[in-house]
């Protein structure tokens, strides 16, 4: 019975021992392994490659990996500083969206990373452009390119006006692959200071009440409200999902003083909060 476990291990061992013998200068490590290329943006001597897990941008939270290639040498530049500005062009105005700074990916030489939360898009994916500013050896470069952002099938982010006349954006980050379990729920909360600035909102509370509208709008036990974690500036809570299917995560946003800024309790009369996110699995 054990043979079926031993055999593959033996083969793998054999394979690797052969492989290392053959080429000593070690094969090139692919630092974007498992990621899909979204788009390349050419800018004179450099090309910027954008990656994520799916290979396209979607509304909601996007974790993005970038590489910067020197078109002459073909090598990736390891010591650049980058920043970005996503812009949504609308008929009468333009605005940006919540985003992180771009930092070097941990443990990698050529990959930089960050996130952008697109709160909306046009049906055909149009409307957005991305400006990348970067600095290599004290030389500044900038490039702007049109990108397309697809509409995510569920409501994984919400932008809304709070009672305090402030516009907020909340975006679901985890669970990415929900299970029938107590899942860790992670969201980002930002406020719209102006059209271009979306700072993180600290120390608020987001209450959580997951419901299944397809099954009598039942809830699940032992969920916890989302609280702010100042280590990574996201909000965390426990999300219990008792079965697969469509779940509506009803939320309420409370400020530091516990005043409700948006959202209502779910009751027999009120099927859903006006502030909610969705998961489906």
């Amino acid at each position: 019975m054990k043979l079926k476990y031993i055999l593959p291990i033996a083969f793998i061992a054999l394979f690797f021992s052969c492989a290392t013998d053959d080429d000593d200068n070690s094969s090139i490590i692919n630092e974007v392994e498992g990621l899909e290329l979204i788009q390349t943006i050419a800018n004179g001597d450099q090309t910027i490659e954008l990656y994520n897990e799916k290979g396209f941008f979607e509304t909601g939270y996007n974790h993005i990996s970038l590489r910067l290639k020197d078109n002459h040498t073909g090598n990736y530049i390891e010591d650049a500083t980058l920043s970005w500005i996503p812009i949504m062009q609308m008929p009468t105005m333009e605005h940006s969206c919540p985003k992180s700074a771009i930092t070097k990916a941990l443990g990698k030489d050529t990959v930089y990373e960050g996130f952008i939360i697109y709160q909306m898009t046009y049906e055909d994916g149009s409307g957005w452009s991305l400006t990348l500013n970067y600095n290599i050896n004290d030389t500044d470069y900038s490039v702007t390119e049109t990108i397309s952002v697809m509409q995510y099938e569920n409501q994984n982010s919400a932008s809304f006006m709070g009672n305090d006349d402030t516009k907020y954006i909340v975006a679901l980050i985890e669970p990415k692959d929900p299970n029938i379990a107590v899942n860790t729920m992670k969201v980002g909360l930002f406020k719209m200071e102006n059209m271009m600035t979306f700072p993180v909102v600290e120390d608020y509370t987001i209450t959580l009440d997951p419901r299944m509208p397809g099954m009598g709008n039942h809830s699940s036990p032992n969920n916890t409200d989302l609280t702010y974690n100042n280590a990574d500036n996201f909000y965390y809570g426990d999300l219990s999902l008792t079965m697969t299917g469509y779940w509506k995560l009803n939320l309420k946003l409370l400020n530091e003083n516990g005043e409700v800024l948006k959202g209502e309790d779910v009751t027999d009369e009120n099927e859903s909060s006006s502030l909610y996110l969705e998961v489906e699995f």
């Binding site: 397809g214 009598g216 299917g245």
Partner: protein
């Protein structure tokens, strides 16, 4: 509790101690020693039953201690001492077999038919632990014993019809018995439409259809050894459950075993019987026949069991010893898919039994020590190791939603002890017994996930961290004869510790649409169950006899609440006329008002009732063989009634005329 264990152990020791003294005593009459002491044992003989083709369920219901819980007209759930499946050990000829339905729609008794069996052995309380650990007792459905008497070909045909529900039953059996080889096969087919309750009220979804075939063969390769193979295939389709929100489209079982018998001659070791077995059950619930449901769903379940036992009988001087070493491995899996009414939403899915593996191995020792012709001390001990494993990781994670501390494995060590003193005199019998037993939670109790119980209208969540349920038991039986009059009393009392029952989870919303809420399995600190029956019979003449039974049961938890499904005052009276070729019986069967009902667990007060039945039977002998005709009327007065054991008080059958005809060809 400790003291009781000590008492029982010392009794056990004492009886072994006696063996040393008894060695030199004179041999006892062997016929006395061969006498099997069981609380109740009913032979499935064709001709004694009121209906030749009665189902196992009907048959069990006639037993004093057994009550059947009904969710429909098929697959009734036996209870013993007011305790149901999880507190009993129900086996088929010592084989462990577990239903595949999370909602108890398929008790084991539904997967065999009378044609498969020879008799049923019922052991109350700790006297029923030969095949496993239980609190309430054990029911063993015995397969026929092998015969090598060279009687040649034999066949039989049974036909049955009942007016209520247009119920038809047909049975056929063929047997060849040689001197070293036998083969026997039988088949039975039953089909019923909806039945009518009293007053011609049609009970929708009370139909069923099933067939059962079995094959048994044996080969005797020496005077002392033979081997038997047995195969039972049972398939029920289109089974309605009027008391439940869903029906069953398939309940299928394959039960197989291979048994080796060794019977040495003239030795203390009388026999060794070793069986290897395998059984598999598929159970598929169905709501397609129900016009209005909140949501359509599929709920299939599977249960596979592999096992063995090896049993030795030893008769040494005044001792009659049984040693039984057994083990089994069970795999229980059930799932639920709900089809969303909104086409944009995906189907919903969960494991209701997340692939639970149960491994058990244990040993059972029983000694009947005969002090003299009148007195016997029976002592038994069962020790077992029980292990549950949640095989699916999602099962562990889903239970962790309710119980943060869930391990995927749970080990238990279980013990059962019993000791009974029995005195048999010419005019009276007396017995007194004490016992202590433990059981592991059932798969549903431990690992069920959102199992909807429409009895109390709650969703139930299993609890893998439940303690073993433990019971202290005392029983007393007495029977006195005055010439043609006989009166007897049987009583048993159970003090159950860590009594497993659902506990309301106040802030958890139910998954099932329309349910009241969620209950998580938990345990009462203790509960008491008491039952007593007074039996009497009077033989008026050679042919006329009357007998009657009066029963009282009581069950309460330490929270002061009544336990659910406790039988109210019950009575039964029968007037018999018997000759060798004709018999007639008029029966009165009734229950008092169920005043001690458990509102907490969804019961309401079930009104008292009484029904009258008339059974008649003839036996004819002719050239071709024997013909048995049984006919009669059940519920003569067409009373519309339900009993405490009828799920959600759905009404029982109204007036029913039946006729059964059996042909036995030699």
């Amino acid at each position: 509790m400790k003291t009781l264990i000590t008492v029982v152990l010392s009794l056990l020791m004492a009886s072994f101690g006696f063996s040393q003294k008894a060695i030199n005593e004179t041999k006892k009459d062997t016929t006395k020693l061969e006498e099997v002491i069981v609380v109740s044992r009913r032979k499935l003989s064709n001709h004694r039953q009121e209906k030749t083709l009665s189902s196992i369920d009907d048959y069990l219901e006639k037993s004093n201690k057994v009550t059947m819980i009904k969710r429909g007209n098929y697959a009734w759930e036996p209870t013993l001492n007011n305790m149901a499946t999880e507190r009993l050990v129900v086996t088929i000829d010592g084989m462990q077999i577990f239903g595949a339905c999370t909602d108890k729609m398929d008790p084991i008794t539904s997967y065999v038919d009378v044609s498969n069996l020879e008799k049923v052995t019922i052991g109350s309380g700790q006297e029923g632990t030969e095949h496993g650990h239980s609190i309430g007792g054990g029911i063993d459905l015995k397969l026929p014993t092998s015969k090598f008497n060279g009687s040649g070909f034999k066949s039989g045909l049974d036909l049955g019809y009942e007016t209520n529900g247009n119920y038809k039953a047909t049975g056929l059996d063929l047997t060849y018995t040689g001197n070293i080889f036998f083969i026997t096969t039988d088949g039975i087919y039953r089909k019923s439409d909806n039945y009518d309750a009293g007053g011609n009220e049609e009970i929708l979804y009370s139909q069923f259809e099933k067939y059962n075939i079995s094959l048994k063969s044996g080969y005797k390769f020496s005077q002392t050894q033979h081997i038997d193979a047995n195969l039972i295939y049972d398939k029920a389709t289109d089974v309605g459950y009027p008391a439940l929100p869903m029906d069953v489209s398939l309940a299928e079982a394959l039960i197989s075993s291979l048994t080796h018998y060794y019977k040495p001659e003239d030795k203390a070791l009388k026999s060794i019987e070793t069986k290897l077995y395998f059984n598999t059950i598929t159970h598929i619930m169905d709501d397609t026949k129900r016009p209005i449901v909140p949501i359509r769903m599929d709920m299939p379940g599977w249960s596979d069991t592999y096992g063995f036992y090896s049993k030795a009988h030893v008769i040494k001087d005044k001792h009659r010893l049984i040693l039984n070493l057994n083990g089994f491995y069970n795999k229980s899996l059930a799932e639920m898919t709900m089809y969303s009414n909104n086409p944009n939403e995906p189907d919903m899915f969960m494991y209701t039994w997340p692939d639970i593996r149960t491994l058990y191995s244990g040993v059972f020792i029983k000694d009947d020590f005969h002090f003299n012709d009148y007195e016997t001390l029976s002592s038994s001990l069962r020790l077992g190791y029980h292990r549950n494993k949640i095989s699916k990781a999602v099962g562990v994670q889903s239970l962790q939603i309710f119980h943060p501390e869930v391990k995927d494995e749970q080990d238990r060590f279980l013990i059962s002890l019993a000791s009974t003193y029995q005195l048999k005199k010419e005019n009276y019998d007396l017995s007194f017994g004490l016992g202590y037993g433990e059981r592991a939670p059932s798969v549903s109790e431990g690992y069920g996930f959102y199992l909807f119980n429409n009895f109390d209208n709650y969703d139930y969540i299993g609890n893998p961290n439940l303690e073993d349920e433990k019971a202290l038991e005392a029983n007393f039986n007495f029977k006195q004869k005055f010439n043609d009059f006989e009166i007897g009393i049987t009583t048993s009392y159970f003090h159950i510790m860590d009594y497993i029952i659902g506990d309301l989870a106040p802030n958890v919303s139910s998954m099932t649409i329309g349910a009241n809420g969620v209950r998580v399995n938990s345990a009462l600190d203790h509960a008491s169950i008491f039952s007593t029956y007074l039996n009497s019979s009077y033989k008026i003449s050679e042919r006329f006899a009357i007998n009657g039974t009066l029963g009282y049961n009581y069950g309460k938890g330490n929270n002061g609440e009544n336990l659910p499904l406790i039988k109210p005052i019950s009575y039964f009276a029968e007037f018999n006329y018997n000759t060798s070729k004709f018999n007639a019986a008029l029966q009165l069967d009734g229950n008092g008002n169920q005043s001690n009902y458990s509102s907490m667990y969804g019961e309401n007060e079930t009104a008292d009732y009484a029904i009258l039945n008339l059974n008649l039977g003839h036996i004819f002998y002719n050239k071709l063989g024997k013909t048995v005709l049984k006919y009669g009327v059940e519920n003569i007065l067409d009373t519309n009634y339900s009993t405490y054991a009828d799920w959600n008080n759905f009404p029982r059958q109204g007036r029913n005329f039946y006729v059964n005809l059996s042909f036995v060809f030699p």
